[in-house]
């Protein structure tokens, strides 16, 4: 009997021990999926983007993008305050009129928009990215498929926090439909609906693979073959990294300037500029 009791005690101890550990572990993760998916309150953002596409040779170009992203806070409704400053660069290769690739890096500066936070105000985020874009013409419009893959290293605003590594898998479908002309050419107003799905993976991604789904419509105007401006609205939603049951959602106003200068000498531009057409 003694043996039986001893056994029981041992068993109880073991149970308690494991249960305690389990409780400790649960406290660290602090994740509990809600019964139903929960959408957070809509936030608003303002994105101001410039896209430079600078020809450096017959087939190579330098992709230089700078984005300024603002995010609403309690103190700064609607337009918001600076949330991120992007510096996205790449060297691109024009394979043909309908296919190009590019490879480069991103330095994103993330500003802490949480007014209550006492953590760091600014942390860097590093990315390596590559992109494959297919274009095709359909009647008077153009259709684009963009696959962009990013390898990103992020850290939180918490002091001395470690970098976490994630991969992002992005696919975007976009159309550009000329409104006042039969094709996209200077002095043309166009509308560009687009949808982009951003998936992510990595150790830190447990139950939130869908980082973002962006639905945008832009109205653009081609000023010259080398300069285009556009503005639009975007609705986006995506799973919260910490808890896949929670969905962030926001509306953003987007403003774009596209420019493509060519500083090469005239004799180098001709006739290669025409590519293979």
């Amino acid at each position: 009997m003694k043996t039986f009791r001893t056994q029981i005690v041992k068993l109880v101890f073991l149970f308690l021990f494991t249960a305690t550990f389990q409780i400790v572990a649960q406290e660290k993760e602090a994740v509990e999926l809600p019964e139903y998916s929960k959408y957070k309150d809509l936030g608003t953002k303002t994105w101001i983007n410039t896209y430079g596409n600078i020809r450096i040779s017959k087939r190579l170009f330098w992709d230089a993008q700078t984005h300024l992203r603002l995010e609403e806070t309690e103190a700064t409704p609607f337009f918001g305050q600076v949330a991120q400053v992007y510096n996205r660069h790449a060297i691109g290769y024009i394979h043909s009129k309908y296919f190009n690739v590019r490879l480069g890096g991103v330095l994103r500066l993330n500003f802490n928009t949480d007014e209550a936070s006492t953590d760091r105000n600014l942390v860097p985020e590093w990315r390596i990215w590559h992109q494959y874009q297919f274009a095709q013409s359909l009647a008077s419009m153009m259709i684009y498929h963009r696959i962009r893959i990013e390898h990103r290293w992020t850290q939180s605003f918490v002091e001395n926090s470690d970098y976490i590594f994630r991969n992002r898998w992005r696919y975007m479908f976009r159309m550009k439909i000329p409104l006042n002309d039969h094709k996209l050419k200077p002095k043309t107003l166009y509308v560009a609906p687009e949808a982009e799905l951003i998936m992510q993976s990595g150790k830190a991604v447990v139950a939130s693979p869908m980082e973002d789904l962006r639905l945008t419509t832009t109205l653009g105007y081609i000023l010259t073959p080398r300069l285009t401006v556009a503005a639009g609205a975007m609705y986006s939603q995506g799973q919260d990294l910490k808890n896949g049951g929670y969905y962030k959602q926001s509306w953003a106003m987007r403003f774009h300037v596209y420019y493509s200068p060519d500083f090469r000498k005239v004799k180098n531009k001709l006739p290669e500029i025409h590519l293979t057409d």
């Binding site: 896209y51 596409n53 170009f61 691109g92 024009i94 009129k97 309908y98 190009n100 874009q133 274009a135 013409s137 153009m142 684009y144 550009k176 094709k183 996209l184 050419k185 200077p186 081609i222 010259t224 073959p225 080398r226 285009t228 596209y258 493509s260 060519d262 005239v266 001709l270 500029i273 025409h274 590519l275 057409d277």
Partner: protein, 652 residues
């Protein structure tokens, strides 16, 4: 001691012998067997030769021949065979020359196990001996017609004996129509009776009697009658030995009356000799091509000789020169188409024309004969009296003459006096008088040529004016049609310029019609035609200006790649340059046309428009940064044209 001296002596001898042997061996005759071209003859040759100072010198037997059965059967073949021998490059020994042109009707027969192809054609041959390049002994020259490999007719045959190139004894020459038989003295001079028979036996028979080469008389026999024509019989003064050729016959004819000349066969005797000479010439050509040769037979005769002294030679020279000048002038007048037309209506022209005809007949024609004799070198073989009697059979021409004119079937007559100071004077020598006739004829024709020139210039001026005016009308019409048809299809600003050009043309024509004086009118007509030509050109250029404009804009549009749209887009490049053309230069040109135009400026303006267009196109591929900066500040079209290096002369 003796041995010592013999050894170098022997060596010396060996050197001498070897030294002699080498040049001797170089002279050794060699044989050649292969193709050979002699003039037009190309055949297979076998001959011996030696080398003398690197020259091939024929020496020994020689054969060259050609025949081609394939060609014979297909069409026609020429064959030849020359066979003989040479000594030191000169023909020597028996020779045979054979030429044939045959065709075959593909008829053949088999005889003695051999196929024989029957040929038809002509075979020529010459057989005889040659002594150091000259015919020697009997030579037979033949031309035969061959039909089916048999001689059907002898076309020509001459048999002449030579002694070292000089014809000897009897000879005979037969042609299809005549046979000539005669005799030579040992020195080759014609002697005794030379008979010319007709082959048909019906025509007259001629006997030429020579005595020591000098022709005495010719006896002409026909069926019913005979006549003896006296030649140089009884002449016993200075003579000269010449060849019996056409020149000799001419010299003979000067002696004879026209009646006698008509009786004789027309040159048949020299014609036969000429045919004979041609055949000897063929042989001589072949022999000359191979080495040295003097194969031509010379039939010698004697003629009376009246040498010309140096003064007379000078007279003859000036006769020839007067004749040539006068003949040229008279031909230019008589052949002038305008004069030929004018003479039908204008009595003065008819008078001038007929005078030239008359002078030609009476003065130039006899002189022409003398010039011919001179060119044959036979003037010295006739006495001056005989010459004058023969040439001027109606007597020497007068310096005054009556010229008949016929206009509209009415014949009238007008006298003409030669303007020449030269006259015929019986105290002067005959040659001097002949020269005077030549000079008179020349002077007369020259003075008429000068008168006619005046008539012609006036006529020419009239004609030119008429044709210029016709051209003016035609240019104006074409311009009006062009402008009317083009104006509707081009933008208004160009059409307005064209209309301005049209009204300017109208004014130009009005200006021209106001010119009254005949002299000024011709000059005015010429410049009006030029002006109209330029106006035509300019209106064509204006009609092209819309195309120039589109052309420039198209050229200055570049297809560039828009990476964001992934499309190619048109980009206007170098806008400064295109706008300079469209906003400054083109309006300037059009304004110039509408406001500043003059006959003098049209051509330059036209050139400027075209040159500007071309220049603008050229600039596209050039580095124009500096130019574009300058153009930005400049608005004056004239300065802009200077900047573009388009020569702007309109304002100057």
């Amino acid at each position: 001691m003796i041995r010592l001296t013999i050894k170098p002596l022997l060596q010396f001898l060996v050197y001498i012998v070897v030294g002699i042997y080498i040049p001797v061996s170089a002279q050794e005759t060699q044989t050649y067997n292969g193709p050979l071209q002699i003039g037009k003859y190309n055949g297979n040759a076998t001959y011996s030769y030696k080398l003398v100072e690197n020259d091939t010198v024929l020496d020994g037997d020689f054969t060259v021949l050609r025949s081609n059965l394939q060609e014979l059967l297909e069409k026609q073949d020429y064959s030849f065979q020359f066979k003989g021998s040479f000594v030191d490059g000169t023909a020597n020994g028996p020779w045979k020359f054979q030429f044939g042109e045959f065709n075959s009707k593909s008829q053949s027969e088999v005889i003695d196990y051999q196929y024989r192809v029957l040929v038809s054609g002509i075979q020529k041959s010459a057989i005889g001996k040659i002594k150091m390049g000259k015919p020697n002994g009997k030579w037979i020259v033949l031309e035969e017609e061959i039909e089916n490999s048999e001689i059907s007719k002898t076309l020509f045959k001459s048999v002449i004996s030579f002694d070292n190139g000089v014809p000897q004894q009897n000879f005979s020459i037969n042609s299809e129509n005549y046979t000539l038989v005669g005799r030579f003295l040992r020195d080759g001079l014609a002697h005794d009776e030379w008979s010319l028979f007709p082959s048909n036996g019906i025509d007259q028979f001629e006997s030429w009697y020579f005595k020591d080469g000098l022709l005495q008389s010719i006896r002409v026999d026909d069926e019913s009658d005979h006549k003896t024509i006296k030649a140089f019989q009884g002449y016993n003064s200075q003579t000269k030995i010449i060849n019996l050729n056409a020149g000799y016959i001419k010299a003979l004819e000067i002696q004879l009356s026209q009646v006698d000349i008509d009786i004789l066969h027309h040159n048949s005797l020299p014609e036969l000799l000429k045919q004979n000479a041609a055949r000897y010439q063929e042989v001589d050509d072949i022999l000359s091509a191979l080495g040295k040769s003097e194969f031509l037979p010379e039939f010698k005769v004697k003629v009376p000789y009246y040498p010309l002294d140096s003064l007379e030679v000078a007279n003859v020279d000036s006769i020839v020169s007067y004749y040539k000048k006068a003949n040229e002038l008279s031909e230019s007048i008589l052949q002038n188409s305008q004069l030929n037309i004018l003479k039908l209506s204008d009595s003065n022209t008819a008078y001038q024309y007929n005078t030239v005809l008359y002078l030609k007949e009476k003065f130039l024609k006899p002189i022409e004969e003398i010039v011919n004799y001179d060119s044959l070198n036979i003037l010295e073989y006739t006495s001056r009296e005989q010459l004058v009697n023969h040439v001027f059979s109606d007597g020497m021409p007068e310096s005054k003459m009556d010229i008949e004119i016929q206009i509209d079937s009415i014949t009238s007559s007008k006298s003409y006096s030669l303007p020449s100071s030269d006259t015929i004077n019986n105290d002067n020598s005959i040659i001097v008088n002949i020269e005077a006739v030549a000079k008179m004829g020349y002077d007369g024709i020259l003075s008429i040529a000068n008168e006619v020139k005046e008539t012609l210039t006036q006529e020419k001026r009239q004609n030119e004016l008429a044709s210029l005016e016709e051209e003016i009308i035609q240019k104006n019409d074409s311009m009006v049609i062009f402008i009317d048809s083009t104006s509707a299809t081009i933008p208004l600003k160009y059409a307005t310029a064209l209309k301005q050009l049209k009204s300017f043309t109208n004014n130009t024509l009005n200006e021209y019609s106001k010119v009254k004086s005949a002299q000024n009118r011709l000059a005015a007509a010429r410049s009006t035609v030029d002006c109209l030509n330029n106006l035509n050109d300019l209106s064509r250029t204006v009609s092209l200006m819309p195309a120039y404009q589109t052309d420039i804009i198209e050229n200055y549009t570049d297809r560039i790649w828009n990476p964001f749209m992934a499309t190619l887009m048109d980009e206007d490049i170098k806008k400064r340059i295109t706008s300079t053309y469209t906003k400054i230069l083109e309006p300037y040109f059009l304004t110039e046309i509408e406001q500043q135009i003059s006959c003098e400026s049209i051509e330059d303006l036209n050139k400027n428009i075209t040159a500007t267009y071309k220049k603008i196109l050229e600039l596209k591929d050039q580095n124009t940064k500096k130019l574009e900066r300058k153009l930005k500040k400049e608005k004056d079209p004239v300065t802009v044209l200077e900047m573009l290096n388009v020569q702007n002369t309109t304002k100057q």
